[in-house]
């Protein structure tokens, strides 16, 4: 009996490939399948080269093999439009779905803030919010755990090269889903999200600005301490998560300026926005895997 939980990755694009490379190093996850829709996909070829089973027939090509290969966790790195379908199909085979698209049909999960709750809920589908959400919601939470935040706003600036066609067709879902995550997980009463795409060469490393408006005068010392602690938590799975400036205080405004460099597994380091998604997705899957391995959770078809 293997001491790893077997997993499939749906979507052999940038995110899927980066996730595969991280998952190969995991102590508790064993990636077995990579699922695509294009037989010519370079991502599928890369996965085959790494010894991973592949199908170019989408999730329908995976489903017949899930039980025999004991796939208990799937990652969806495709797009919001097809996610619900994908999730229904793999859930029916008894696998948990970790959703890296902005579809958000399951509860949000931002590991340092609410991973334990998400896993405790035993949800068969969890959503990783968005790249901007993973990078910023921990900071909103770092402020809101000190004192009430009436408004949280995040600005994510990403390099053009790191934004794939799915996000581009889907940019409203990014802003809506991130804003909702700022409220539900970040703890701001009202959330707002902005994304800026910059084509500069060499590509800029992901930058994130977080503005919180506190209800009462901000407790500068407590907020500063909380922010530094939260940065250290995120650094456990994204070492390039760096506080550039702040927190600065201006009346009730608290501003935090972050830079997010990736590990450079598949994409270059500047694509911290992709790295933080895959790292958070894998971190979530590992928590599930630990629960399954310990016999505390048996994923079952809904």
């Amino acid at each position: 009996m293997s001491n790893k939980i077997r997993a499939a990755i749906i979507g052999p694009g940038n995110i899927g490939t980066d996730l595969l490379m991280k998952a190969m190093r995991s102590d508790v996850i064993e990636p077995v399948w990579m699922v695509g829709v294009d037989p010519e996909s370079p991502g599928l070829a890369r996965a085959r080269d790494m010894g991973i089973k592949t199908t170019c027939e989408g999730v329908d090509g995976l489903v017949p093999h899930m039980r025999e290969d004991n796939i208990q966790i799937c990652f969806d790195a495709t797009s919001a439009y097809v996610h619900a379908d994908n999730s229904r199909k793999v859930n029916a085979e008894g696998a948990v779905m970790i959703d890296l698209t902005p579809a958000a049909i399951g509860p949000f999960c931002v590991p340092p803030v609410n991973l334990k709750n998400a896993v405790a809920e035993r949800a068969m589908n969890v959503n990783m919010v968005t790249c901007g959400g993973q990078a910023t919601i921990p900071m909103v939470a770092a402020v809101s755990r000190v004192q009430a935040v009436s408004y949280g706003e995040i600005v994510a600036t990403v390099s053009s090269r790191s934004v794939g066609p799915g996000t581009r067709k889907n940019i409203d879902e990014f802003t809506r889903t991130t804003a909702k995550g700022v409220e539900l997980i970040g703890g701001a009463q009202q959330g707002k999200a902005i994304i800026i795409i910059n084509p500069a060469e060499p590509p800029l490393i992901m930058r994130d600005t977080i503005h919180c408006l506190t209800v009462d005068e901000p407790d500068q010392e407590a907020i500063t301490r909380s922010v530094h602690e939260m940065v250290a938590e995120v650094q456990k799975y994204v070492p390039g998560y760096t506080l550039k400036n702040g927190p600065t205080f201006d009346g009730k405004r608290v501003s935090i300026y972050m830079e997010v460099a990736g590990l450079g597994d598949f994409l270059p380091r500047y694509a911290g926005n992709l790295d933080i998604m895959t790292a958070a997705g894998l971190r979530t899957a590992e928590m599930y895997a630990e629960e399954i391995l310990a016999g505390r959770f048996v994923p079952t078809a809904a």
Partner: protein
């Protein structure tokens, strides 16, 4: 230059781009008063939105005196012949904002992206183009940053999504007339003949009028400007000046020049918090190729951290920042102040 007999449509920016120098504090009442006067002057199209477009209300860009919905509802009701447009930047506003603006009674939606990123507008342009009678415009900002050939590829994307008009937008006021001519002429040659072309200028190098004329000569039929130049940086192409020049050159705009001059002098200038003009810092925007609405943010950060706004703007240009990156200004100022203090 012979432009005799050309017909163009001017589009006033005072109540949208003009929100930048007003820090988005123009009131609903002021907007209505100005819009009615522009209607009487025969200005065919005016833009009304937060300076950063629908949904721009934020800590990052500034909270406006009223909501987009309040402005648009009031202005659309008040005007008779003049039509009203709204601006939308994907990544800031969403199709929900677009639908709201349509319900308020706009005739025109302008969907704006950075010049290399047209594909983020597909969602919004294709939806807008399916709304019956909605004039759908694609708007490529910071168009100086890429050559004409690359710009045309992006304009064609917007056309393919359903835009009936596309704009070449000199957000930094960096272009010289030849830059405008080469871009507009190539776009005119490559786009469908029925797709209209527009030019949006800023006056940071004092080239607003010259650039707009170059655009008309090369085939643009829509020209943006704002009365008294109320707009970001050194302002937009000063519209009453452009109208006077058009009059002299025999370009037909359908606008009553003297009435437009009166609106500029009697309503817009008194509204200004500072004279919108080419000065040391707005000139730097044009020289360094920096997004015009960064001006006041750079001035504020310069004052707060004891730096020169010009130094900040030059560095923002060197880093090739794009529209919307206002958050980088204070961030950069803190870095510059730290570097100075440790030197």
């Amino acid at each position: 230059m012979n432009l005799q007999g050309k017909k163009i449509q001017v589009h006033d920016m005072s109540l949208r781009d003009g929100m930048h120098p007003k820090q988005h504090q123009i009131t609903v009442q002021q907007m209505v008063e100005i819009a009615v006067a522009m209607d009487e002057a025969g200005i065919p199209l005016i833009e009304v939105t937060h300076g950063d477009g629908l949904g721009g209300a934020s800590v990052n860009y500034g909270f406006p005196a009223a909501s987009d919905q309040e402005y648009l509802t009031a202005v659309c009701k008040a005007v008779k012949k003049t039509r009203v447009s709204a601006l939308l930047l994907p990544g800031i506003g969403t199709v929900d904002h677009l639908k709201m603006a349509v319900d308020c009674g706009i005739s025109t939606i302008r969907v704006a992206t950075h010049c290399t990123e047209a594909d983020v507008s597909e969602q919004h342009i294709s939806m807008a183009s399916q709304i019956s009678g909605l004039d759908t415009v694609g708007f490529l900002m910071m168009a100086h940053m890429i050559p004409a050939e690359e710009l045309v590829v992006q304009l064609k994307l917007m056309e393919s999504y359903g835009a009936n008009c596309v704009y070449i937008t000199d957000s930094a006021g960096y272009m010289l007339p030849d830059d405008v001519t080469s871009r507009v002429a190539l776009a005119r040659k490559e786009l469908k003949p029925e797709t209209e072309l527009g030019f949006h200028g800023h006056h940071n190098l004092g080239m607003g009028i010259a650039n707009s004329l170059a655009a008309v000569e090369a085939g643009a039929t829509r020209i943006d400007g704002s009365l008294a130049g109320l707009g970001a940086g050194a302002g937009n192409t000063p519209l009453e000046v452009f109208l006077a020049v058009c009059d002299r050159m025999g370009v037909e705009t359908g606008v009553d020049l003297f009435k437009a001059m009166d609106v500029a002098e009697d309503l817009i200038v008194p509204l200004m918090d500072h004279m919108v003009r080419v000065d040391r810092d707005s000139l730097t925007l044009g020289w360094a190729g920096v997004y015009s609405s960064f001006l006041l943010f750079a001035k504020r950060s310069a004052a707060k951290y004891g730096l020169s706004a010009r130094d900040i703007l030059v560095e923002l240009g060197r880093r090739r920042t794009v529209g919307g990156q206002e958050d980088m200004i204070e961030d950069l100022a803190m870095d510059m102040a730290r570097a100075r203090d440790s030197a």
